[in-house]
Symmetry: C2
Subunit: 365 residues, 2 copies
Amino acid sequence: MARAYNFSAGPAVLPLEVLQDAQKDLVDYKGCGMSVMEMSHRGKDYDVIHQEAIATYKELCGLNDDWSVCFIQGGASMQFAMIAMNFLTKGAVADYGKQGTWSAKALKEAQLVAKLRGATVNVAADCQKDIPTRMPKADEWKWTPGAAYSHICSNETIAGAELKELPQTGSPLIVDMSSDILSCPRDYSKLDMFYAGAQKNLGPSGMAVVAIKKEFAAKGAAEIPTMLKYTTYTEENSLYNTPPTWGIYIFGETMKWVKKMGKENLFKLNAEKAQKIYDVIDSSDFWTGTALKEFRSNMNVTWRIQGNNEELEKKFIDEAKKLGMSSLKGHRSVGGLRASIYNAFPMEGVDALVSFMKDFEKKNG
Amino acid sequence: MARAYNFSAGPAVLPLEVLQDAQKDLVDYKGCGMSVMEMSHRGKDYDVIHQEAIATYKELCGLNDDWSVCFIQGGASMQFAMIAMNFLTKGAVADYGKQGTWSAKALKEAQLVAKLRGATVNVAADCQKDIPTRMPKADEWKWTPGAAYSHICSNETIAGAELKELPQTGSPLIVDMSSDILSCPRDYSKLDMFYAGAQKNLGPSGMAVVAIKKEFAAKGAAEIPTMLKYTTYTEENSLYNTPPTWGIYIFGETMKWVKKMGKENLFKLNAEKAQKIYDVIDSSDFWTGTALKEFRSNMNVTWRIQGNNEELEKKFIDEAKKLGMSSLKGHRSVGGLRASIYNAFPMEGVDALVSFMKDFEKKNG
């Protein structure tokens, strides 16, 4: 069939030309006689792919040589464990934002490590269950002086809420940017670590792309399993063991596409795409946005039909699906509607959704 | 160029028809309007891929419903840590084979966990540094009565040595089968757990395929991070978080290919392929096999040129490369020559190598 407008929260839409190039080269990568999936990770052909992917990402994020970019399997969920195992040592304190489902999961993993080791986790702000969904305001955060680190999430995918400005914490700041990495202007160089499950703005599922200051990585606990130590990745350029080579390849191609499109241009388009949908939501009482306006996400637009009408929402999702718009269902834990519109999601798909929303309201409002 | 004969130890050659089918479907998977890489892991299209991959593997390995097949990111190296974290609890004893580089790495991770928790690791047999390379003989193993588990490796990729019969250990047996899974007859149902980094006989890199008895998984320690617990995978069918969907897809297609080819037929071909190369090695003093004959691997054939002549070995590797035979270099830690000939490696590639070896010997012997 024609290409779907895929509103999935992740794995998510990838740039069409990245897919087309990958298709062309799948069996025989640029004439080297084999697929990228078949290449030794120690060979010259793969090495170029690996190095270019890292270099392009560092350039896009504005990172200097103080930083290492690591490919770590297990997605953001594995990072929740690794961060605490590395940096929440005996007697240490860490601050965590409890801003939604994902940051609460990160907090939970830290609490387990704190209990086992005799460390302390402080909840720096808690708005996880607030309705409308939101992020903490600048004056709500309570940071611990001398904390080993602080951890927050810049965009909660399920809540559809986004931090427009990152807070000043006074301790090394680690940010889960899984769902808004490279989607809006951020000063990445001010952080100590940021990471993203690849399957939203970066590539296919199967790894987190972890940017970490080498100096910060070196502070990690010594006695933890090799694969769970950041220095294993920073010191061996993510080649201690076999990395997820295909995912890194598609990630690298996607980053080249971001560079070609111009990241500032994409940032602008992202704001425009989201605004078009929010404008429809705000145009009538038929729709209700799920997040407080000042924290509305430009990546995951979440909303309900009046009275949280689940029957009409189901009808909306089903009819949209028939028109080639897939995955508009909200996360199974909260219901409602959600349109995830990452970098690679095309403007035409947003226009199709907006047009359908207006039509649906006319017929059902 | 023409398709290379790819002797890489992993990532390694995949079945050509699996690659061609994946290529055809890459942008639009069977008319559903998107790539497998773009599909929600909670959607119906992906669910079929996920379930079929597990079902085909269980059928090929002869596993009943007592077993769970899990997709766990981080390759075999992450399993080294997870096994100890789950099953080497305070006061417990575990037996480990030290049979080569990989099983020694597994042992090292267990020793760290044992130190932190107050548990004991027993080396059940040690032939890691023996030359010729080999596996422990049946009467060399020293098993601990009442051990929590025993861990061995069935095929050491670097040494080129393979256990033709798995030992009886008296405790739950866990086997690292990364490089010989589904390559020869094994009674998998007698084990408690076996696992394989996917990038050799199963698919692309980026995960281990872990088969584990549900009852055994349930014995794992409670207080470990969520992503490192086997029950997280067994209880949620590897869908607790986003799995490596593309890798699972290619794994499933590769398993269907194994089924179509007939596993018994592949086992027979594997033995024939290896024998052809060993026959040349044994035909003259110009070549020396690296492993003791009774433990020679059918997956990774390792050998040297007389007097461990590194200069001639380099010449051999370079000339072979020009003829379209790649990755014949031994592992960087041991040097020499290695031909990895997994299930998907074609007989014609072995014939090309054998012919080249004879020719090379004539010119340089």
